[in-house]
Symmetry: C2
Subunit: 378 residues, 2 copies
């Protein structure tokens, strides 16, 4: 490289570094302002996620960017990343308590990971939280005697059994579960408890840093008016509610949850049996194959019994899995016959069925793949 | 909400907006500086992606962030996103031409999407580019008579046939292909051309905005010294080279490419046949299920014959697909028998085989899922 160019490059890099240091100063100021916002929201019980404010703010910045010749998507992506941090920091200030007179919240299975997330959120909102885990059953009647709400957060398989074992609860006490199937647990809760009953499915793992923008599925049980406070509380935590009948929820879960886990499990098993060399596969991997591999591999960093529960507990999972086998065999027959035209016909048929969603998924995933590529390093 | 709080909130939001507008000013300055860097890199032929400079810059900013109480991952993510834009903008300035005396570069299949990407890159680097597409075969001898390099970029299935049809090339001309399988095309090229031969597999789709950090697999053919210029040129475009024997490449591709496409195809077929309601599934979807669905659905926004080619052209794909079927049946038997313990045993066995990669994949995908959640809106 020519000496003068190298010097010019160094000079420019010093300037870029200075810009980036100014960016740090801006971030510090922004985080401080956001903390002040959090304190006010806490006092007033305003949800941490304000979709309208967010959308209008993004639209304004995009327009300003465009006028300055800056790609609008750049400022949107940067602001969205900064907002994630804001949501996390709002956790630190705590949340407004919506039901000031509620008795203690008892988390059954509160030593589990998801139970801890909710124990923490209730605690941050000023409720008295009690944990009732396996070892505490002898003290259950005493822990539950004056409970305002009982939250069941135990492995799927144990949910109904645990519900049946509960001692009688105060008549106004809310009984609520967090299981990822809803029909069985909801029926069991309605059977054992004559008071308010609610089924929830938090659609996120215990590793979320904030509930902002996460979805909680709501399956109504009994005496809706008596648990409105909890639905409001969950929204203050930042989550979005999606109401659905338990049967509809369970059916969707078989397709997107049980079957995806099951086929990912089979793919992992397949890779192992084919003696795949993961190191080598990664060397060859484009962002998309790396992501595909990560989506399979991530399963195996987790608790087998969690996945076994999800798959084995879905009443229709077996039938679905058998159907999938038929489709696999059907597709394999095309491969065996070298029937490329038949493959393309089936493909087109499925594409038509996906309709506009196919393009939406393509563009969504394209953005994810760019992010995946951003984080590459040698 | 209390009136004073609402006013205080409004005041803070005005301040946050002002910070974000300062951010736009910073971005504008940064993009201008980066454009100057690009101009110098162009002149000197410096690769647009400088991994060491990037890593050391990120490390410094992370340390500074930490000292200021700013989460280091926040500044890293923001800078990585900004760097993506820099790489794209460096495309505008063009690239240094590494081989100034090379004759015209003829792109066979240059009207296709990937062919266009390369035609564009060669053009931006000052080479004379000629397109030889289906309609131009009559003029092939004339277009190829003084070619310095011939780049084959046609559908997999047609690759070997097209290579065989080539008229004799100038003896020093480089013959190179971009197909996603390598053994067949490489052998065909070595057969028809006595001069320099090179097999490449660009591990990215034609929708990439820049080659920065993308991987190009290099399978050496003949007379390496005579195509060093091209390998250097590709690195200037920002890509990373990964050298591998063609057979090793093809085997890895069967596992990560053909089989993933095939099982995604089956999953799409399955969803259709189960009459899944995509709209409804999305309502229920956590970031992870949404991503899983997007990874399946994205396939169907694309050209069926592209996927048919990839799947049907892999010589061992059929055997692999049959093996997968066995593993599926094996797993299904566990489900049929309600054998949760057996499932957990298999799971643990695969987890052990994944080893540290499982945790690596979990944390990589966790980051992606946070990004997916960032971009949610109601």
């Amino acid at each position: 490289m020519a000496e003068p160019s190298s010097k010019a490059l160094d000079g420019l890099r010093v300037k870029i570094d200075a810009v980036d240091q100014e960016l740090l100063q801006l971030l510090r100021r922004r985080l401080d302002l956001v903390a002040e916002v959090g304190a006010i929201k806490h006092k007033d019980g305003v949800p941490i996620y304000a979709p309208k404010r967010e959308a209008s703010m993004l639209a304004k910045r995009r327009a300003e960017a465009e006028a300055m010749g800056i790609p609008p998507q750049l400022i949107e992506d940067l602001l969205r990343r900064m907002m994630r941090e804001s949501y996390i920091s709002e956790n630190d200030v705590g949340f407004k308590r919506i039901h000031p007179t509620l008795g203690p919240v008892v988390i059954v299975g509160g030593a589990g990971k998801l139970g801890q997330v909710f124990a923490n959120l209730f605690g941050l909102s000023g409720y008295e939280v009690r944990i009732l885990d396996k070892a505490d059953w002898a003290r259950a009647p005493q822990l539950l005697a004056d409970a305002g709400a009982v939250v069941i957060s135990v492995p799927i398989e144990a949910t109904c059994e645990v519900i049946e074992r509960l001692p009688p609860l105060p008549v106004d006490c809310l009984l609520v579960d967090l299981t990822s199937i809803k029909q069985g647990p909801l029926a069991a809760m309605l059977r054992v408890h004559p008071g308010p009953v609610l089924g929830l499915h938090p659609m996120f793992g215990p590793d979320v840093s904030s509930l902002a923008k996460q979805v909680v599925v709501v399956c109504h049980g009994r005496a809706e008016a008596k648990y409105q406070w909890l639905l409001e509380q969950i929204q203050i935590w930042g989550a979005r509610l999606h109401e659905a009948p338990a049967s509809e929820h369970d059916q969707a879960m078989q397709l997107v949850q049980a079957m995806r886990h099951f086929t990912a499990f089979v793919y992992g098993l397949h890779l192992k049996r084919e003696h795949a060399d993961i190191e080598q596969l990664l060397q060859f991997s484009s962002p998309i194959y790396r992501l595909e591999l990560a989506m399979v591999g991530r399963l195996f960093a987790q608790d087998p019994s969690l996945y076994a529960d999800i798959i084995f507990a879905q009443p229709d999972a077996l039938a679905r899995a058998r159907h999938y086998l038929q489709r696999y065999q059907e597709a394999l027959a095309l491969l065996e016959a070298g029937d490329k035209a038949g493959f393309c016909d089936s493909f087109a048929e499925v594409a038509e069925w996906f309709g506009d969603f196919a393009e939406q998924f393509r563009s969504e995933s394209a953005n994810m793949l760019m992010v995946a590529n951003d984080s590459r390093s040698v």
